[in-house]
Symmetry: C3
Subunit: 169 residues, 3 copies
């Protein structure tokens, strides 16, 4: 690893408050990204972390890194995978943090939903990745905590090329 020699984004560790937790079920046909965004907007949640999320999904797209990818990550080194399913949603991990500046088709202040999934197919084979699209199949049972006392935002990093967490901006 040569990465240790690279300049780094500023480091941070914040003590935060996750005491405000929301418990919900999403419905068949719901767009997962829209559903999470709407709950955040409706309840005034600027930053969130998923405590638990299970259910089932269909019509899923995710990205994964190609072999021999290096940082800064270039778009053509990402592999976009579309899978129809339906799948059992075994894990739904991730967070929501507001954006500084622009990234892809997102603009200043937009909530960045960073969601990683593992999915089970019929014989118990597993797929998964960094989620970019998903539709609820039968249900998604979600516990989402409001991340209070945080200053973290996301901004494109010249180190990684991706949208990274910062608490100094």
């Amino acid at each position: 690893m040569e990465a240790k020699a690279l300049e780094q984004d500023p480091r941070f560790v914040e003590q935060v408050d996750l005491s405000e937790v929301y418990f919900m079920r999403f419905q068949p046909g719901d767009d997962l990204f829209t559903a999470v965004s709407e709950v955040c907007k409706e309840w005034g949640i600027e930053r969130a972390v998923i405590v638990s999320g299970i259910g089932s999904l269909v019509d899923v797209s995710f990205v994964s890194p190609k072999e021999a990818i290096e940082i800064p990550v270039l778009k053509d080194k990402l592999n976009f995978v579309d899978q129809q399913g339906p799948f059992e949603l075994l894990t739904l991990e991730g967070n929501v943090v507001p954006l500084v500046g622009e990234f892809g088709n997102m603009k200043e202040g937009d909530p960045v939903l960073h969601l990683h999934v593992t999915l089970a197919t019929k014989e118990g084979e597993i797929s998964g990745g960094h989620l970019v699209k998903a539709t609820v199949f039968t249900t998604t049972e979600l516990f989402l905590a409001n991340v209070k006392n945080s200053r973290v935002k996301k901004k494109q990093s010249c180190i990684t090329g991706l949208c990274e967490m910062r608490d100094d901006i």
Copy 2:
């Protein structure tokens, strides 16, 4: 997706209290479902969510959806998979919610344990699904939160055919 056109179960988002957390270790030979149920009963926990669960399992059964399955889900479109293991338990996600009415061999008021796992075999291959049976191999290290201030129950849904969360019953 035609699902958007379907009638839906009622939607809900609840603000809940997860401040009461139980930390435990299960032992070799423990039935995972029995062990979780007994802890809930002993500590007066009606609803629970898993904050973290890792360890190792043997003698596992889970279900996953077959291809081209549609809702409402019919039993013959589910695929039951038995795997002996032992496995590393990489993720144990899920919740416990009381039942309204009957579903399968469960009756009114029974705790519905909804548990999804990912499991590692010897070369790092992964399997997993909606768990229906599992025995602890060496350990299960579990953090389980009591879900307080919730009215959520589970009832068979005519939309999905499965046992779904409701907060209006």
Copy 3:
């Protein structure tokens, strides 16, 4: 399963306090084990549990049980797997608990980091296991709770052969 007939380590269920949560991002090139250990040391955290962890990793090693392994687990029945990646880090689950006695190259009082991961490769294939080494690729976004009001420690168990949780020592 004959395990039920075995003598067992003492059982415990503790009510703990996870209200003190730390939110951090690790950087490209960080050693994941060192980074978690340093945060625990700096913030005076003796016991911890991961609430959420996603990101990407490279240069990963993990162990998984071989087929037909039995307890007590012998070192030659474990399979060490090295994978270069880079990988999407789909799930990072686990905990930190102080050691009693010695285990491997750890000594009395050392923090035992028990970390399980699932990782995605380029086509969405998944690998994973009980992590023993990993380097951060682009980021690791981590929510780590201080486990307060706990007496749990880890000690080598003559039942499993591994380092197991105890609250009576």
